[in-house]
């Protein structure tokens, strides 16, 4: 099944017509190992991620959802097929160009926060910009910081922040450079349900209020319910797509898939 087969939601229509999708894959295949031990983590995935859209990639462990995200984000390469960020084919890029793409056009939120412990919250937020040697857009940064609600904690180091706060810093870092797309890998995996809800709500607002594009990998139906679209992956293949998912529907679907 293909996301493009579904009709886009009305509010996205003008954007979708005017510009290419934020990211897409064409027949993406990723094989680990060789010969008899070869395992296909991705087995012909074709997917489009519309702009200003919140997409959740769901699936049981080993379904290939993390691999899909890594390949889309330029952290890993495909065995065959294509990945595009905007209209850029990642297969055409060198290692250094991929690094620059990650730096300038992609944002990340990891499960384990992955903040730099020696930098304070503020420095962590602007890290990709600093790496690029760019001055952050003050106004935008201000907006991002207000949204995180961490204004009074900006000078704190990660070790002085709670897990939820650290993850909010991580999301703010992803937002700070206004990337074309943010990839979040189990962003609530290490958090309790309240802190998790805060993060998910925060990301939801980023999509709604800042027109940010987010792709989130999760196996948590509650998390998926925050997304516009849920894509279900099993054994490296897309098996279903659900618009406007709710926790119950996702759970039901997962149960079916598990059978």
């Amino acid at each position: 099944m293909d996301v493009t087969a579904d009709s886009p939601q009305p509010e996205d229509a003008p954007v979708a017509v005017a510009e290419p999708p934020a990211a897409r894959t064409v027949d993406a295949v990723k094989i680990y190992g060789q010969g008899d031990t070869a395992v296909a983590a991705l087995d012909g995935v074709t997917l489009e991620v519309p702009r200003a859209h919140y997409t959740a990639i769901m699936g049981p462990s080993g379904s290939g959802k993390s691999t899909l995200m890594h390949c889309m984000a330029g952290l890993d390469s495909l065995t065959s097929g294509q990945v595009f960020v905007g209209d850029q084919d990642l297969g055409d890029l060198s290692e250094d160009e991929l690094t620059l793409l990650r730096r300038d056009r992609v944002g990340f939120v990891f499960q384990a926060y992955n903040l730099v412990p020696t930098l304070n919250a503020q420095e962590n937020i602007v890290l990709p910009l600093s790496l690029a040697g760019r001055k952050p857009d003050r106004e935008w940064l201000d907006t991002v910081v207000s949204t995180t609600g961490l204004r009074d904690r900006l000078t704190h180091r990660p070790s002085e922040l709670s897990g939820g706060q650290q993850q909010r810093v991580a999301v703010a870092r992803a937002l700070a450079s206004r990337p074309e797309i943010i990839f979040a890998d189990e962003p609530t995996g290490n958090l309790d349900s309240r802190a998790g809800a805060e993060i998910l709500d925060f990301m939801r607002r980023a999509v709604q209020e800042m027109s940010q594009t987010i792709v989130m990998v999760t196996h948590d139906p509650v998390a998926a319910a925050y997304a516009d679209t849920a894509v279900f992956l099993v054994d490296g293949k897309i098996v279903d797509t659900m618009e406007g998912p709710t926790a119950e529907r996702v759970l039901d679907r997962l149960k079916q898939l598990g059978d």
């Binding site: 250094d96 020696t118 930098l119």
Partner: protein, 856 residues
């Protein structure tokens, strides 16, 4: 567990390379120093044990004479008629006289053989008739049979190409003479003992050249079979009686005495090398310790896993121990071999005549023990620490370093630092170099203690320009450099020791140079100095000065000669007992050439007048107008000049020291037959430049083989650079220490990269370019290196200032910082720091982003 240990060893060969190198270099340093010391000692010990091999008893004067001007002590002469008495003693198989002195054999090219200023001495002596007592054997030709014949050692013959029958010029204090080479002699199986040159005459000619007719330096005797040395000595003593001013000692005693003298003369070298041995062990220990801390830290998780599955603490430690033994033994053996290379290099620096190294079992044992024990301790302390960590904690994360917050450490460190600075300053102003040395030691200890506490602010300051220059990479570098302050401090400290000592010696050297330069520039008005390379032991013929004085370009010529004498203030007792002192002979020109500070009386050296220095005036209780009695010693063939009245008292300094007692040339030459000059000072007539006068003066000087002329600028350079060989020696040793320290930095950075795999992965994920990663790692290393260097420079400068200041009373008034050299050191250290990080930086940049992120 043994299997696990060996597996671990094999699986991580590369990480052991740095440890192995650290152990090797540390041991190389220690063994190099030990072997060099033994080689130096053996070279000189052998020389004299061979010389006295067949001597069972020696008869010599009981009068010891201080030659003055640091020339050491010599013995008086004894009467040659004593030989008959000794030969008549029952039990004496053979007896012979020896007349000892110094001589220069002049080669066919007009240059003297040997370089007594740097290497072995150049001896003159008589050819001993007794084959048993004479350590030399004729290898070609005949012994000297008349006063115009000479025998030289085979080494000198080879150097010059002289053949038996050739005419050979030999110069002594008495003058230069031509002889027919009657024979060439070898010393045992060697060409000569320890590279020393020998000219050997008949007894009469030796007395003529070196001593006094009818007098000899000593009489040696060999015992008949079955008579002990001690027995022989007591028989000779009995025969000679008490009252002839001689003493009799055994062959063994004279050998030991001579060897002791050599040991003492070389004492500074032994102490000096020992000092470096200690530094070697300390620096080596630091680096080995660091290397093992790193290896153990790398394995904390592995060890925790072993512990979790049931390995006991002891078993874990034993695994590390096995690894340490293997590395320690292998590294030490390799290091010892490396040390032999170092010793060889250094012995050629010192221009030792004997090129083979003395490798005593002691050196092997000490060097290996140091290497292995230090390695074991270095491995066990971190292993013990690691084994204390609860298994689960270790599996979760690397233990947190809290030493940076240790208040006790900070306080103790600060107290020691303050005390050290106080001691240093007190020593500096109180003329106590020892205090300064202890102060430097205290500074190092204090710096070591507070290192982890101050590492962060120091890195902040040093890293500020890096952060500005390199942006976020620089900031990360600065912060990462002190992520583990204890480790950083320890790593940097190994470098601090090396750089500190290099700085210390460079500052001392440049200050001494500056002092000499200043003294010669301000206190000396001459233009040329004629010298000889043998400290005046053979000296310059007075003719040199007389010829130069004839030149129209020359204004004044001031010869400078001295000889040992007894001096007293009571004309009634001409036979003055007690110590001898050097009496200088020169002319009035000395007061024009040296700006001597005459504090009392007037500078006059007319006949019957003597000028003394203030210290002598004080110690001998003399005033202007007092009369002193001078009697020169026999072996200078001295008599007594007329009683002299003190005409002036001057203040002496290091360059303004013309002697305790200075008399006019007329009085001096009247009392001494065949005087020879130590130096001749020349000033030019008005309007004549150094360049204009140089050719004429050089032409004259070239006629005298042992004479050498230098303009004042050249002389300054010669004087200053006389410390250069020692300085190079120090620098070679210290560069080794610095290199070892850099291995430590490479290790620390490698570990630091390893520990931060995930963080680096994250940085790469969010867009850090490879070159930015490399840059961050390299600068981290450079900051640690700079930290050690800056601290080292500080300690070195303080120490250098302190020691120079404390020597002010000795005349070292200038304090000069070799700024350019020190800047080079700092830049060099930074560059080496960058280089130390090459491999870790490359690895960090190459790591796989995905697997790095998922590393726990």
């Amino acid at each position: 567990m043994l299997q696990v240990a060996l597996r671990g060893l094999m699986a991580h060969k590369s990480r052991l390379v740095t440890t192995f190198l650290a152990v090797s270099l540390g041991v190389a340093f220690v063994s190099g120093v030990l072997v060099l010391t033994d080689t130096v000692n053996r070279t000189f010990n052998d020389l004299f044990s061979d010389v006295y091999a067949e001597t069972d008893a020696v008869v010599r004067s009981n009068e010891e004479i201080d030659q003055g001007f640091g020339g050491g002590e010599v013995r008086g002469l004894i009467d040659e008629s004593l030989l008959d008495e000794v030969q008549d003693v029952d039990g004496v198989a053979e007896a012979d006289v020896s007349i000892d002195g110094f001589a220069r054999i002049i080669g066919p090219d007009g240059d003297p053989v040997g370089n007594p200023a740097m290497g072995a001495p150049t001896f003159g002596t008589n050819w001993q008739e007794s084959e048993e007592l004479n350590p030399f054997t004729i290898s070609d030709g005949e012994p000297p049979s008349s006063d115009d014949e000479v025998v030289i050692d085979r080494g000198s013959a080879k150097d010059t190409g002289y053949q038996v029958g050739d005419t050979v010029e030999v110069q002594t204090r008495t003058g230069a003479n031509e002889y027919t080479l009657s024979g060439i002699a070898r010393f045992g199986s060697a060409d000569n003992p320890g590279g020393a040159s020998f000219a050997m005459w008949t007894v009469e000619e030796a007395q003529e050249q070196l001593g006094e007719p009818g007098k000899v330096s000593s009489i040696s005797a060999a015992a008949e079979d079955g008579i002990s040395q001690r027995e022989l000595v007591s028989r000779i003593r009995d025969a000679l009686g008490d009252d002839v001013g001689v003493e009799v000692i055994t062959g063994q005693q004279i050998t030991e005495e001579t060897q002791d003298d050599i040991q003492q003369a070389l004492g500074f070298l032994t102490i000096f090398l020992g000092f470096f041995g200690v530094i070697a062990v300390v620096v080596g220990a630091f680096v080995i310790y660091n290397a093992f801390s790193i290896i153990v830290a790398q394995r904390t998780r592995e060890m925790a896993l072993l512990r979790a599955v049931g390995a006991r603490r002891r078993q874990v430690r034993r695994a590390v121990l096995v690894e340490a033994i293997v590395v320690g033994v292998a590294g030490s053996v390799f290091g010892f071999l490396l040390g032999l290379g170092v010793a060889f290099l250094l012995s050629s620096f010192l221009q030792l005549p004997d090129s083979s190294l003395a490798i005593l079992p002691r050196s092997v044992l000490i060097a290996l023990a140091v290497g292995i024990v230090v390695t074991l301790l270095s491995a066990l302390i971190p292993a013990w620490r690691a084994s204390r960590v609860p298994p689960l904690a270790a599996m979760r994360d690397v233990a947190v370093d809290t030493s940076a917050r240790s208040r006790g450490r900070l306080i103790v460190g600060l107290v020691i630092l303050v005390a050290a600075v106080a001691l240093l300053v007190a020593g500096a102003f109180g003329s106590r170099p020892l205090y300064v040395g202890l102060g430097v030691l205290g500074l190092l200890i204090g710096a070591f203690l507070i290192g982890p506490v101050v590492a962060r602010p120091v890195a902040g300051v040093l890293g500020a320009p890096v952060a500005r220059l390199r942006g976020v990479s620089g900031e990360l570098a600065r912060d990462n450099a002190v992520r583990n302050p204890r480790r950083t401090a320890l790593t940097a400290f190994a470098l601090t020791i090396g750089v500190g000592l290099v700085t210390f010696f460079l500052v001392l050297n440049s200050s001494v140079r500056a002092s000499i330069d200043e003294a010669l520039s301000t206190g000396f008005n001459g233009d040329f100095i004629v010298t000889t390379d043998d400290f005046g032991l053979v000296g310059l013929p007075p003719q040199v000065g007389e010829d130069i004085a004839e030149l129209p370009e020359v204004d004044q010529v001031v010869p400078f000669r001295f000889a040992p004498a007894f001096v007293g203030d009571d004309p009634a007792t001409p036979e003055i007992e007690g110590d001898t002192t050097a009496v200088t002979g020169t002319n009035d020109g000395i007061f024009d050439l040296f700006e001597l500070d005459v504090v009392e009386g007037r500078p006059s050296l007319a006949s019957g007048e003597v000028v003394i220095d203030r210290d002598t005036a004080t110690s001998d209780n003399l005033d202007v107008g007092d009369t002193v009695e001078i009697r020169f010693l026999d072996d200078a063939r001295g008599g007594s000049p007329p009683p002299a009245t003190v005409s002036g008292i001057y203040e002496s300094g290091p360059a303004e020291n013309i002697g305790s007692y200075v008399i006019g040339l007329d009085d001096y030459d009247a009392a001494i037959t065949n005087p020879s000059d130590v130096q001749v000072l020349v000033s030019l007539a008005d309007g004549v430049s150094v360049e204009e006068a140089q050719p004429a003066i050089r032409e004259i000087v070239d006629k005298f083989p042992t004479a050498d002329v230098e303009s004042v600028d050249e002389f300054k350079n010669t004087i200053s650079s006389q410390f250069d060989p020692i300085l190079y020696l120090i620098l070679v040793l210290l560069v080794l220490a610095v290199i070892i320290a850099f291995l430590g930095i490479a290790n620390t950075i490698a570990l630091s990269v390893l520990e931060r795999t995930r963080e680096l992965g994250l940085l790469r994920a969010v867009g850090m370019r490879r070159k930015q990663v490399r840059s961050a790692v390299r600068w981290e290393s450079a900051i640690i290196a700079l930290m050690g260097t800056v601290l080292g420079l500080t300690v070195g400068l303080l120490g250098g200032w302190g020691i120079t200041r404390s020597l002010r009373d000795e005349g070292f008034e200038a304090f000069a910082v070799p700024v350019v050299l020190l800047v080079i050191i700092a830049v060099f250290a930074g560059l080496l720091g960058l280089m130390a990080a090459l491999v870790p930086a490359y690895r960090a940049a190459r790591m796989n982003v995905l697997s790095a992120i998922h590393t726990e």
